[in-house]
């Protein structure tokens, strides 16, 4: 278990083995953190503050002592500490100078420019939303002010630096207090009043604004000025490091940046800042009554300090911080980012410990290796983690316990997951004409948990305990242990995952299914043609059709294909093999869609190859001069549905669509994008579908087994939230290529398309999760449709789709038997066979909370939480959703602290080992574009991401929330370089980094990158000659280049979607986008930094405990 003491901030590793890596185990994070409480809760009175402060100090004392004792810092960390001390000083000294320069210069010009382009016009409007929220904060301000202090503005910084040095730790508390009082309100306002006008709404507005962009910055800025004036200014521990960064990047990620921004804000239209600030979800989320919100974040600046801390840590932390500025700064300083749980470290440890041995699934209740670890799985009776991952592998025996812990009980199931080549596909079992053998009562399928009794004549169900006769043809004798003799020969008796051949009873209408069909619908309106999409699709289909999914690689695919083009009318094509030329049939009656032809619409590719090719050649020509800009959408899906109905088969529709369907037809949509609603209670109306039409349509689609995949090529708002309804309900996917340009996005689109067409999938599927008596599957997340509470209906289910299932107690469980879960998916394979795939999973039950906390998987919990939160947005204001998330996590952690951790100071943040990354990951979820959209995040983007996440597996959600950042140093050898944490301060100006987000790949090039490195990668030694628009790296004949491209390829192959490569040069405009993914930093949209958030969590937990 991992203990982190915050606010006094010591991080202590309570559990030896694990904690060792975090040598700091007990780290003293400088006391400053009183600011946190303040930040998060303005309420805290001065007294509280002081108390905290004192507590901190106290805490720190012991901690430090403990630290050493605990763990001789293992490899990485120890050095760090050393580094700190060493590095810090220099930075400091340096810092001052730059700082002074920086403050004045950088802020105004550089920043404004940069942010503007990136965030466009919205800023002003955005600010407004904040103002509303702002008022409350302002009030709290006064009190909090002391801490909020972290001077964001450049000016403040400079002073700060000096201050730090000058003022020792001791004084800080008092100083802070004073500062806060004086600094925050009046002075700052006055000073900044000029610029702030934008923020005018309230004296505090600036604070709001600042939060948005750089939460910390603003609050600080305001206070800052006062500070300055007051005198303490000089001190500033932070500045030095930041300074350098600042200079380098006008938009500094860390604390440094913040300062400049504030300054800038003040100087320029504050609005911009406002823009940033507003986006910050944090405020609303955190802002609750408790925290003034922004201010808290204002504390955020803390992160920046972190870097400095590294260096400074050893010496400076205690004293300077305290002495320095108001709390805020101090806090920052005191928390050493390296002292808080590092995802990288966890990942590396897991990899080191678990990748060598195959993971055997035979042991109940065992936590599998992390998704980031490469490991082999041996199925010994439980489903492989590639199919099923649980949030907890020891589940509480009682509902009370579960409720107390608040740990969600959920399984993330990927029923048709692809397995690596060295693992065997689930075996196919045929139980003959009578079909699979099942329990008489609960209908669970034969599995290793069935207990054979009476000499093998009957078996008792492991789920419901009902006894069922064994059919004669299935009878087998038992051995002396009570196991069937043929146990090992039968997959269903020995493995966790296998398939049954389904009989006709399992088929729709009691008729064996037809092979599925694929129908391609190509938008041929003006925009689609002009963007080059039509041409690309048609060209690609000519070859792609040879790769339709098949089960037997030797045989031709039995999937039939059909083609339709459309704008505001639909054009069907008859491509019957006997025709010399394809025939086009236009259906203009879109109000009442029907299928105009039967014979010749769905054809076998090989039979009709000539006609199809001729068609695909002609489509781009035919519509090259089109002037039609309007499109329909609903009728398109209806047409596909009708086609499948007519052919009496399941299938998949591929829609290549470009624009909001405004043509007169069912499912017509209007442009309802209204950014003013973002952040308000009406925000959910942007996320909900516009009309019920599509949900009704999707019901029909599901009934027919019609899965819809949507490829969007929008140039403007297309209402993804509504268009995505059918794909999402039918197990399909939505792909979005905004501002599609043939040259730039061709590769990404084609790779997505290829994969989407080729991937193995099942059709017309029904999934049912059965569980032991005592728990029950109560909620499901993913792309599917449910007409009742138990059956998950999936028109299509591909190998990438995940269903997350939440379980609840409805009775007690027994520690002896554990809990069983069986997920059965009935589907039609791509060759038209009806199959049943069964995954079994047994977990332990525990009566001790400690067992629960010891066997959790944070990645899975995050997967569940994010899905839960994203879905809640439909009905709940974003702020509430965020609060709920924070609250639940706090409860989880508080429960642990209360029940499992050894008693310790309240100032200590103690985290369970398995969940020590919960705060950082949760922060990433909270900061995601969906929950905390920045000004540049369109409504469509959010809807898109929201839908995307709903069917992500753990591995994808992990990288989605916590991107992988690889330093590209030595690439020799087969292993990857060790990732670094997602923070700007981890980036070296002289380095090149690869960032994988699951959707994009960024290649970040430092301004001072070595020429050799650049030559190796780009073929040019000059930084300025690197083309930031390149989407693929030049193929250079050197090992480094080759290896890098290999890595990129392998990354891409691991994801279900092709990741576009973007080259980001340091200080380039595009860097803003890149920085958005540095999720440990404060985000431009107002997301808290890791450190800030951790403090916030800590405060929450403490509140719960007290």
């Amino acid at each position: 278990m991992f203990v982190c003491v915050l606010s006094c901030f010591c991080v202590r590793v309570s559990r030896p083995p694990v904690c060792q890596p975090y040598s700091h185990g007990a780290m003293n994070l400088s006391g400053p953190h009183p600011s946190y409480p303040q930040q998060y809760g303005v309420q805290p009175s001065m007294q509280q503050m002081t108390n905290q402060m004192s507590g901190m100090q106290v805490g720190s004392g012991p901690l430090t002592s403990a630290g050493p004792g605990y763990a001789p810092p293992p490899s990485s960390e120890p050095p760090i500490s050393a580094a700190y001390s060493a590095a810090a000083p220099p930075s400091y000294t340096q810092a001052p100078h730059p700082v002074s320069g920086a403050p004045s210069q950088p802020p105004p010009p550089s920043e404004p420019a940069a942010p503007q382009p990136y965030y466009d016009g919205p800023p002003p409007s955005q600010q407004q939303p904040f103002p509303s929220s702002a008022p409350p904060p302002s009030q709290p301000f006064p009190s909090s002010s002391p801490y909020s202090g972290p001077p964001p503005s450049s000016q403040p910084r400079a002073p700060a630096v000096s201050r730090q040095q000058s003022f020792p730790p001791g004084p800080p508390p008092p100083v802070q207090q004073t500062f806060p009082n004086s600094a925050p309100p009046p002075v700052s306002q006055a000073l900044y009043s000029g610029p702030p006008p934008s923020s005018q709404p309230g004296p505090f507005p600036p604070t709001f604004a600042s939060p948005a962009q750089y939460p910390a910055a603003q609050p600080p800025s305001q206070p800052g000025p006062p500070h300055f004036h007051s005198g303490p200014p000089p001190q500033c521990p932070m500045p030095p490091p930041s300074m350098s960064q600042q200079q380098a990047n006008p938009l500094p990620p860390g604390p440094m940046q913040q300062p400049p921004q504030p300054g800038m804000q003040g100087g320029y239209p504050t609005q911009q800042n406002g823009a940033f600030g507003q986006p910050r979800g944090p405020q609303p989320g955190y802002a609750g009554p408790q925290y003034p919100g922004q201010q808290n974040y204002g504390a955020g600046p803390a992160p920046t300090p972190a870097p400095t801390q590294k260096r400074l840590d050893p010496d400076s932390i205690p004293s300077p911080q305290a002495s320095e500025l108001p709390a805020v700064q101090k806090f920052r300083h005191r928390i050493d980012p390296d002292a808080i749980p590092s995802p990288i470290q966890v990942i590396e440890d897991d990899r080191a410990n678990k990748s060598s041995e195959p993971f055997t699934t035979g042991v109940k209740g065992q936590t599998p290796p992390l998704v980031t670890t490469n490991f082999q799985v041996k199925d010994q009776g439980n489903a492989s983690p590639r199919f099923v991952r649980c949030t907890a592998y020891n589940i509480p025996c009682t509902a009370d316990m579960a409720k107390q812990s608040q740990v969600p009980l959920a399984a993330v199931i990927k029923p048709l997951a692809m397995l690596p080549p060295d693992e065997t596909r689930p075996y196919v079992v045929d139980h003959g004409e009578a079909g699979p053998i099942r329990c008489n009562r609960c209908k669970a399928y034969m599995c290793p948990y069935m207990q054979f009794i009476e000499g093998g004549r009957r078996f008792q169900c492991g789920f419901c305990s009902c006894v069922t006769d064994v059919p004669p043809h299935y009878f087998q004798h038992l051995d002396h242990t009570g196991k069937r003799v043929d146990c090992c020969d039968r997959p269903e008796l020995s493995l966790g995952s296998y398939e049954f051949v389904a009989t006709v009873d399992y088929c729709k209408n009691n008729k064996l299914p037809q092979p599925p069909s694929f129908i391609f619908f190509i938008d041929v309106s003006y925009n689609a043609v002009k963007s080059g999409m039509v041409n690309i699709v048609c060209q690609e289909l000519k070859t792609l059709l040879d790769y339709l999914p098949r089960e037997n690689p030797e045989a031709d695919s039995v999937v039939r294909v059909g083609f339709v083009t459309y704008n505001k009318v639909l054009h069907f094509y008859n491509v019957k093999s006997s025709l010399a030329q394809p025939q086009m049939m236009v259906v203009s009656d879109v109000s009442d869609m029907f299928l105009p032809l039967l014979d010749g619409f769905l054809v076998n590719v090989n039979d009709s190859r000539v006609v199809i090719e001729s068609l695909l050649d002609q489509i781009p020509e035919m519509f090259a001069d089109t002037r039609e800009t309007e499109t329909v959408f609903g009728p398109v899906i209806q047409a596909g549905l009708e086609a499948l109905k007519a052919a009496d088969c399941a299938g998949k529709l591929f829609l290549f669509h470009s624009s909001l369907p405004i043509a007169e037809a069912p499912g017509k949509l209007k442009n309802r994008e209204d950014k003013k609603l973002v952040g308000t209670d009406k925000e959910k109306s942007l996320i909900q579908p516009q009309s019920g039409f599509y949900s009704n349509l999707s019901k029909e689609c599901v009934a027919q087994g019609c899965c819809v995949d949507l490829f969007l090529f929008p140039n403007q708002y297309v209402d993804v939230a509504t268009l995505g309804v059918v794909p999402v309900s039918t197990g399909g996917s939505v792909y979005k290529y905004t501002y599609f340009q043939a040259e730039m996005d061709r590769e990404r689109f084609l790779n997505d398309l290829r994969r989407d067409v080729q991937k193995p999938m099942g059709f017309d599927a029904v999934m049912r999760v059965r569980t032991s008596t005592g728990i029950r599957a109560t909620d499901f997340f993913g792309s599917f449709f449910m007409s009742n509470t138990t059956d998950v209906e999936l028109a299509g289910l591909d190998c990438d789709k995940t269903v997350t299932v939440e379980f609840r107690h409805d009775d007690k469980l027994s520690e002896d038997t554990g809990a069983l879960m069986q997920c059965a998916v009935l589907y039609t394979s791509c060759s038209g066979q009806r199959r049943l795939r069964v995954h079994n999973m047994a977990v332990n039950c525990c009566s001790q909370l400690a067992d629960l906390y010891r066997n959790c998987e944070t990645d899975t919990i995050i997967n569940f939480f994010s899905k839960y939160a994203y879905r809640s947005l439909l009905n709940t204001p974003t702020k509430t959703v965020r609060d709920t998330l924070v609250n639940q996590c706090a409860q989880i952690l508080a429960c642990y602290r209360k029940n499992c951790a050894s008693p310790s100071s309240a100032g200590q943040l103690i985290l369970p080992e398995c969940m020590k990354l919960l705060p950082v990951y949760l922060n990433c979820v909270l900061k995601s574009d969906v929950l905390q959209p920045g000004a540049d995040v369109s409504v469509d983007d959010r809807a898109y991401l929201r839908q995307l996440l709903s069917c992500m597996d753990v591995s994808e959600s992990h990288v989605f929330f916590y991107p992988r950042l690889l330093p590209l140093v030595k690439l020799d050898g087969g292993s990857l370089p060790m990732a670094v944490r997602n923070s700007e301060e981890r980036l070296s100006k002289g380095g090149v980094y690869l960032l994988e987000t699951g959707l994009y790949l960024f290649l970040w090039v430092g301004a001072n990158a070595q020429q050799e490195l650049l030559s190796n990668i780009f073929g040019t030694p000059t930084f300025s000659q690197i083309d930031p628009n390149m989407t693929s790296l030049p193929e250079l004949d050197n090992p480094f280049s080759q290896r890098l491209r290999e890595i990129i390829d392998s990354f891409r192959s691991q994801r279900s979607r092709y990741m576009k490569l973007m080259v980001v040069k340091q200080e380039d405009k595009a860097e803003l986008i890149f920085k958005h993914f540095l999720c440990e930093d404060k985000s431009a949209s107002g997301g808290a930094s890791y450190v800030d958030f951790l403090c916030h969590m800590h405060k929450e937990i403490r509140q719960l405990l007290s």
Partner: protein, 740 residues
């Protein structure tokens, strides 16, 4: 002029007019006593090879509500250059171009032999002919193949500049775009959904928002790029269309056991009508619909797709059991009227063993002047030749079809126009000479005849309105002028004017004259038309009773038994079909329809016409019966035996061979010219097809009176129908008693 017979013949040859009376009773009272009204059969485009059209336009009476055309009956003052209208007596100056006129230098229209004259209108732009094929694809493979071949063949018969279009239908309706290269393109419509004309045009992309003028004048014709997609000149798309037709597939939708294929005939037609309406209003166009079965879905459906529900019979109709009848009829009526308003005609070529819904759809052709052809299969010469004959040409190499005709009738004051019966619709033109007493399609002086052929004949009914106390001076003449404007098949706009006059006669003093001027044949046909017209709208027996009351003449016996009035033994479709043809054919053909012709061939002499009587059916005769719709060659018992024995093969019996061939040759001759092609039946004594003959002949011998007649003469007919003899006896009795 020697006899009335010659006079009548001459008039018919020259003007295409036959009046029921050639002397007109001069008062209303007398006229009504004559039972048969003053009326005529008029064949507007009667072929007149000897009549060259004049290259100028007619001179019209300047009175606004008269506008009669200058004609030989007008009084002309050559010196004053003034002519007096013979209808309204308005005096009109000649136009400047007639300055050189004198009694020796007369324009053609003043010469008596030009009582019928044709003008070519120069100013109107030439409009291409339009042929829109509407093809049912729910056919047996064999049928479809035959139909495709016929259609492909027809392309070579069309004038090269004619526009042609193709709509196919089955469960769906497809409008084929003909202009595109590469991919064959078509617009598809659901077969069950009724669309307004505007919607159809929108869906076909024919609306041009910017071009529609304030008066709603369709802009389409000015925009060939738009219209050409569906209607293309034959010479341009010849190959394309041939291929397209060649690739035409049977309707691919599966037809479950026990079901009829779904046929969206109603929608297909409405789309055809809508398409033309939007693109070529008031331009001659033919919608040619080929159908292989009844409409089974959507508006206009005649029967459901369940095979267990048979299509309506007369029985169902009288019992009011025909579910779809009224709705469908109403639907097609509306369509027909729309087409007629725009001058488009609709042909129906229905080939199926069962009924196809002609009863409901007859209006489409009846009102628009379209053809109806009925056959068993598209793969029969009956259909193929009938279809081919649609495109037959006259001696000038021009099509025997004309479009967009309007017929206007002007009459002297004493005469009012009661109405017309024929393939026409009223144009609702008010004028001074409209009778309040409506007969047929009345209340107007103008009728629209969307499609005309040289044989198209209308029956026109007049009323004498002169009061008894205002006698017309001796020698007074009443005049009637027929003005027919139409679009010639060579795209010219033409006007044919026929002006005729008859003497008034005082019925009291000149009753014999009037009697002798009676045209029995014309009257028969005219009254029969009236009967048919009534039969369409009234109950059968009522019509018979009405007819019996009106007329007592020989032909009536056959008319009573004909399918035109008698529905027994004929399906509703057949009746519709027969009636359709009856109301448009000329007098000769109409008479054949009423009283079939029977020729007898024997060794005893040259072929001779014989009585249509069972007594004519003798063992050693070959009979050739022409009912217009059927040509029956009937071999008597002996002849049949000889033929079976193969005597005709033996050289010594060459005369027998000749005898066998003679009726066949004669039949061929009839087959060559008749439209529609009659059903050709070769049968013999005892053959099943002999019923066609037996049902027509007068049953003078039946099983009831078999033994009272000599065995040698004729063949008995098994029927309860009364024979002519009985009928006549009965009539005589009635005539006497009613006279009393």
């Amino acid at each position: 002029m020697a006899t009335y017979q010659e006079f009548i013949q001459q008039n018919e040859d020259r003007d295409g007019v036959r009046f029921s009376w050639n002397l007109w009773p001069s008062s209303r009272l007398e006229a009504t006593r004559l039972v048969v009204p003053v009326s005529c059969l008029f064949t507007p485009l009667k072929e007149r090879p000897d009549l060259p059209p004049v290259q100028y336009e007619p001179v019209l009476c300047s009175r606004a509500n008269c506008k009669a055309v200058l004609n030989p009956l007008c009084q002309v003052d050559y010196r004053a250059k003034i002519w007096a209208c013979n209808f309204c007596f308005q005096r009109n100056p000649f136009p400047p171009s007639y300055a050189g006129i004198s009694d020796v230098n007369q324009p053609a229209e003043l010469m008596p032999q030009f009582s019928t004259i044709e003008y070519i209108v120069q100013r109107s732009p030439p409009n291409p002919l339009i042929f829109l094929y509407v093809v049912d694809t729910c056919l047996e493979e064999e049928d479809l193949q035959a139909l495709k071949e016929s259609l492909q063949m027809s392309l070579s018969l069309l004038p090269p500049n004619a526009l042609v279009g193709l709509i196919t239908f089955g469960r769906m309706v497809q409008v084929h775009e003909l202009s595109c290269e590469g991919i064959a393109k078509s617009y598809v419509f659901r077969g069950t959904k009724e669309l307004s004309s505007k919607q159809i045009q929108e869906m076909l992309g024919l609306t041009n928002p910017s071009a529609s003028g304030p008066q709603g004048r369709p802009a389409a014709p000015q925009d060939p790029a738009v219209t050409c997609r569906f209607l293309q000149p034959v010479h341009k798309v010849d190959m394309n269309l041939t291929d397209l037709l060649g690739e035409l597939q049977r309707d691919p939708w599966p037809v479950p056991q026990g079901k009829r294929p779904l046929r969206s005939t109603g929608i297909a037609l409405s789309i055809a009508v809508g398409l033309l309406e939007g693109t070529f209003p008031n331009t001659g166009a033919r919608v040619m619909m080929f159908m292989g079965g009844p409409p089974t879905q959507g508006p206009g459906m005649v029967v459901g797709d369940e095979l267990k529900t048979p299509i309506r019979s007369w029985h169902d109709i009288t019992k009011d059991n025909a579910r779809h009848l009224k709705k469908a009829t109403k639907y097609y009526d509306a369509l027909a009227n729309r087409a007629a308003v725009n001058g488009h005609s609709i042909d129906i070529y229905a080939c199926a063993l069962d009924q196809t819904g002609l009863l409901e759809m007859k209006c489409l052709s009846n009102l628009t002047g379209g053809h109806i052809a009925m056959g068993d299969s598209f793969n029969t010469s009956l259909f193929k030749q009938t279809f081919q004959r649609v495109f037959s040409k006259d001696h000038n190499g021009e099509f025997r079809m004309a479009f967009g005709g309007t017929l206007e009738v002007k009459a002297s004051r004493e005469l009012k126009v009661s109405g017309a019966i024929g393939p026409c619709v009223s144009l609702n033109t008010k004028g001074p000479c409209i009778s309040e007493n409506e007969v047929g399609v009345g209340g107007t002086t103008q009728w629209k005849i969307c499609s005309l052929s040289p044989s198209t004949t209308l029956a026109l009914y007049f009323e004498v309105v002169n009061q008894h106390n205002a006698p017309i001076p001796q020698g007074g003449r009443g005049a009637v002028q027929f003005v027919t404007q139409y679009q010639h098949s060579n795209t010219q706009r033409r006007i044919r004017v026929t002006t005729v006059a008859r003497n008034w006669a005082d019925a009291q003093s000149q009753i014999q004259h009037i009697e002798s001027s009676f045209d029995q044949e014309a009257s028969a046909v005219i009254m029969a038309r009236l009967g048919v017209f009534r039969a369409e709208s009234e109950e059968g027996p009522d019509v018979l009773r009405w007819l019996d009351r009106q007329l007592i003449r020989l032909f009536m016996f056959h008319l009573r038994r004909s399918p035109f009035l008698q529905v027994f033994n004929n399906s509703p479709d057949e009746c519709s079909y027969y009636r359709h043809h009856f109301v448009r054919q000329d007098l000769t053909q109409s008479l054949i329809m009423i009283q079939p012709i029977l020729y007898s061939y024997s060794f005893h002499g040259p072929p001779e016409p014989v009585l249509l009587d069972s007594g004519s059916i003798l063992p050693d005769r070959i009979l050739l019966m022409d009912t217009f719709f059927q040509l029956v060659i009937y071999h008597g018992e002996t002849i049949a035996q000889w033929r079976k024995a193969g005597y005709q093969e033996q050289p010594e019996y060459e005369n027998f061979k000749h005898l066998l061939v003679a009726p066949v040759d004669d039949a061929q001759e009839i087959l060559q010219t008749r439209f529609p092609m009659p059903r050709y039946i070769d049968t013999e004594h005892g053959g099943s097809q002999a019923r066609f003959l037996l049902s027509k002949v007068n049953p003078s011998q039946t099983h009831n009176n078999l033994y009272s007649w000599g065995q040698e003469t004729g063949a008995p007919i098994l029927t309860d129908d009364v024979s002519l003899q009985v009928f006549m006896d009965h009539l005589k009795k009635l005539a006497v008693s009613s006279a009393a």
